[in-house]
Symmetry: C2
Subunit: 94 residues, 2 copies
């Protein structure tokens, strides 16, 4: 009955990141930091975990002369997020 929830996604900050990337498809570090109201350190760590899981792609480039990290969700990430939402429903009676 109760499905096992993907632990990579079931973390408040990572869930927030995934949620944002599902909507916007592409977002830079600064935007994610503002929207999630997280610290840079925490965000950096969680982005790395999502990247290692293959759920997001992280690209490093420059915006003018300043470094810029851009993130986007992968196909695997979309599927994992959708499965997570489905599994979660078993807990929420939806």
């Amino acid at each position: 009955m109760l499905k096992k929830l993907d632990p990579i996604i079931h973390s408040e900050l990572r869930l927030a990141i995934m949620s944002l990337l599902i909507s916007v498809n592409r977002a830079d570090f600064k935007y994610l930091k503002e929207e999630t109201e997280s610290t840079a350190g925490n965000l950096s760590v969680q982005l790395t975990k999502l990247e290692e899981a293959g759920y997001i792609k992280v690209e490093k480039g420059f915006k003018g002369k300043m470094p810029q990290t851009t993130c986007s969700i992968t196909k695997m990430g979309i599927e994992a997020f959708e499965k997570y939402v489905e599994d979660l429903k078993s807990y929420l009676k939806m």
Copy 2:
């Protein structure tokens, strides 16, 4: 936009416990252990946390000669669960 999720509820096992108690209203330790597929130790710890938060009531009695711990959700618990579900929706686009 993204709401802060109640950390007492946002834990897989505690969410499962709350979800079960919302439905059945009353459940003993054994039932919760089976349904959640958790270890007794982990279950014991998480029940105590929910009790300390005022979200559940834990009553110790006997079933025949064997000790029996019975749990039920409180009004506070119901409200917290409902708020959690609402807040969660901001992440899931529902």
